[in-house]
Subunit: 339 residues, 4 copies
């Protein structure tokens, strides 16, 4: 049985996770790991059981044994690496987002389209067993017509200011995962209205961002949605999604991290997920396995280019809505955007 | 030990509940039940173990052995009965709302204030053990600065159109309970923005109301809030409240109605509360017991006039916001309103 | 509508609870409260809204307006009061147990039978909504053939030694509630094997009792059962019952006392029931309401004499099994016992 | 960084799982897979990304690049392969049990001891995050003195009769996992009393086995334990463990498989784990990773020989107790057994 030759581009914290995951995916072999930092590169190569390493991601892309790339480099480099890989005819898995602006995103996705290369974007929640079960139940008509959607996403603590400065802001960096869930579970969004505020750290406000926000989503099918985000959650990573409709309600929650309950004087205690990486450890493996399988079998991977673009549009509209204090339709943002 | 002489005004569905509750409150005796419908009146008198009945609520108010009234009549009559009771020097417990408009509400509450009579409004959730524990934890600083508030309130099915026509609309009739929780748990609201839609029954739209809504609350302390309502929940009465802050999160949820789990092929099942009356059965008893105790001990009952008014203001602002499609400050609604 | 004339015999802690409950039961009126202690008697009469009081329970029984008695006196007096009430033709509700030995129990129940008077024994768990739902599910065949039963019963702290000395021991005083559940949910028991030990307080061992025990139940239908008891549970009152069968499993658990979850650094917390009185507050009301209703309607109340006797037999067999270190068949205990 | 050369012996269902897991463990490389069945062997080699395959496990053991073996062959071959590997100086991970009788077990473990080779037995629950947290809490004194222990283990359906005939019976094949938990969490057992019955399939009784059992454990520290097992659970794999002590209670439960709750008419539903392989998927990876790490770092792996022996002794005693209808002390079984 064939194994797909994969290059891992980027060996940061997330790259190390993907390295470990790739080693355990039978139909993949990690041909190369690329990262300019030697120690990180070697560490990731060890974890991935990779055959060789490159300092330059471009060289890994050109490696003739590399059939697919997994892009986990800093966000600013995603678009160009996607384009380069697409032009070289390699299948592409890229962490989100393609880019922080619409133009660069569309250019990269156009290159993908032109090259006809398989493309998958890293919205890992779609591969979480909980969300997959929700999707399946919705397909079976479990709730009938959907009337309200709600997602909460809260990180345990804000990232460093240096990161935040180039992150694109809360809506593009963080809420985009919830926007993608909205599209995954409910469908396309017509307009949004976002309210942002600074409750956690005034320096986040000083760089023109918010750390606490509520975004209303008005879906094309008439359903209402609300997304709550915060850069701080003292108890750990907080994620909860609800779909409410005419025949029922689905809730995907973060149950205690371990099924261990401690009863002590006055009550009981359980633990909680610390961060997205422990909550979604299995989803990260599953999304890469699905990507490898799709490429090997000549099927289209999912979520694909339209999902990368669709969730970006909501995030851009939310950012604009927050800044202008008004409801913003997605078509305003997209103007001539098309795939 | 003394027992407070109480008259129950109104013997509808809710009146019957209050009748049973009053019978079981030791420091109260039900002197009279009043309702123009003989059968309902007699039934409630039996449940309340009442001493006598009146067809006319006014006569019950004037009964010299009656020291306090519990008003459970149709909404349109609340204000006048409150005024009459206050003028007669009787303590007043009234189901919410005092009235559907600000003027009538203020007039009734002014009469209460003038008479110096004890007054309690029937926001029963404040007497639910779950919400009381939340309030206590907040007082202890469990979550620190509050950043986000969220309440869901969904009824199993819409009431008859006839009822809806005079209900004041979803925000005044239904969401007002969630608005009161917002005030109880977080504090005063500065402005609101509400989005209503019709998803359940087009006839509700035809009478100028909505059956599905999201209301954003902007609190004076800077916190954000969101309230989700629906007139239909296939699984039963849906209520869930969350308070999120710098040091933690509180959730008051509707757990299964009975602690009985049925594991069967493929998974497990639990039951659910059907309606507010089973979810809050104990709270209804507790609020009446608290009212009786406060009056007997000469203390001020709570929630009082300012709570009746405060939650009404939010509901009026939400209604206006939904109609005008813009954020509405409470002071716009209140104009010269004062207590 | 008629109200049943009730006398409450006994005004201790449990008597006060029953007093409050009786006041709130519409088809009952509390004619009298009897207790030799004046203050307790007056307090209970206030709570029950009773018409008069007696120092002597016998006088209350003889009161011509008293049609039914609720016996909440010390255990040692149950049997004689049951007999007296039965002979006086009054309906009888008695707290468990009838007596701590088989002879006195049979004598009292024989008097009941002879008088043809309605009789209900205070196994309140049978009126808990959770257990009732379990019973209903079993009736519907939810688990098919029952294979294993398990009950846990743990009290927060041991009662005073003075109480324990006359309590009949852990199996008769405490495990008997779990034995009754076994009969209520599964059916009759053929034999038992009990293992007792002293883990909580050596003085309990010195008076010939145990504070920690496991009892195996072998049901007539071939199912196996296990009952775990302890006189101490640091976290509060611990009760959990499981019925496992060919098609599924039922669990009746003690969920958190309030549906309030506190998420804080490192995890989440909930509260817990403190004692049987808060866990079963509604069941105590429900069992009395059912008794009153049955008597008023001329129906046989349940659980009745055979349940009082059946659970006692298991408790006696368990005590003997523990003492003799061997499996004991119920028929050994019952010898000639019959109803 | 070095990678440990591993041979996977056995490519059945469990072998395939271990193959996938080993591929994803960075400090291991799978040198060889051995299994007499060619297709299974090739499949496992693909999953493990193994370098070569052998039909004969002995050849894999002798492969000079193989430093450690992972034994997942049929139970009857475990002991001889352990001995062979130990004699060849290879580290050994073996699925439980070493053997079904004491003599073969002791002989194999003696060979391990003599060779001084690292040895780990496959009690994977010890590597489950839930049980590890329980162990940690116990180490911190969370419950103080332990008084009662309870474990439930139920498989969804009985294995084929052909398997059962050589399985050693319910206590050795199935309950042994719960007995190991008892030792892991509480400590050594002094005596047992077991009750077995046939409820699921009479043919299981005909081959001299039981399908439903309760085993009492009497710990050396005075605590009581109870283990409930069944070969059938309609709802899936059922596992729950409770540790009760003077200061609290720990419960390790099987929460729903996915954190997805479906609220529909009348209540709510969740899914359930199907089998031990999905419940313990992460534990299987974790135990192998721990084994590889221990061997690489020259540390003693755990659970080791004394755990393999200790849990076997309980299972043998339970089997004897069930057959003889009496309590059996472990020392009766062990007689001269020693490590």
């Amino acid at each position: 049985m064939k194994r797909l030759g994969v290059a891992l581009l980027g060996a940061g914290r997330m790259g190390q996770e993907h390295a470990k995951a790739l080693a355990g995916i039978p139909p993949a072999r990690v041909v190369a790991v690329a990262d300019p930092r030697e120690e990180a590169r070697e560490r990731a190569a060890y974890l991935a059981k990779a055959e060789r390493t490159y300092a330059d991601a471009r060289e890994a892309i050109e490696d003739p044994e590399v059939e697919a790339v997994v892009i986990v480099t800093p966000t600013a480099t995603h678009a160009e690496l996607i384009e380069a890989a697409a032009r070289a005819g390699k299948a592409v898995f890229s962490e989100k987002p393609v880019a922080l602006d619409l133009e660069a995103t569309e250019r990269a996705l156009a290159a993908v389209k032109e090259a006809g290369t398989p493309f998958q974007i890293g919205f890992q929640r779609r591969y979480d067993a909980g969300y997959r079960r929700a999707r399946r139940l919705l397909d079976e008509g479990a709730v009938g017509q959907v009337d309200q959607f709600r997602a909460v996403g809260r990180d345990p603590a804000p990232p460093p200011l240096a990161y935040l400065r180039t992150s694109g802001g809360l809506f593009l960096d963080m809420a985009i995962h919830d926007f993608d869930l909205a599209r995954f579970l409910i469908g396309e969004v017509e307009s949004v209205q976002a309210y942002g505020t600074v409750r956690v750290d005034p320096r986040i406000g000083e760089i023109g961002d918010v750390d606490t926000a509520i975004t209303l989503l008005f879906f094309q099918n008439g359903a209402q949605g609300v997304v709550e985000n915060s850069r701080r959650a003292a108890y750990g990573y907080d994620i909860r999604t609800e779909v409410f409709g005419e025949r029922g309600k689905l809730v995907v929650d973060a149950v205690p991290k371990t099924p261990t309950w401690y009863y002590r004087e006055g009550g009981l205690e359980a633990d909680h997920y610390h961060f997205f990486m422990d909550r979604f450890a299995q989803a990260y493996r599953a999304e890469l396995a699905a990507f490898v399988e799709a490429v090997n079998q000549g099927k289209e991977p999912t979520p694909g280019p339209e999902d990368a673009l669709g969730s970006l549009l909501i995030a851009l509209a939310a950012t604009q809505s927050w800044k202008e204090g008004r409801r913003v339709a997605l078509k305003e943002v997209r103007n001539g955007a098309s795939l």
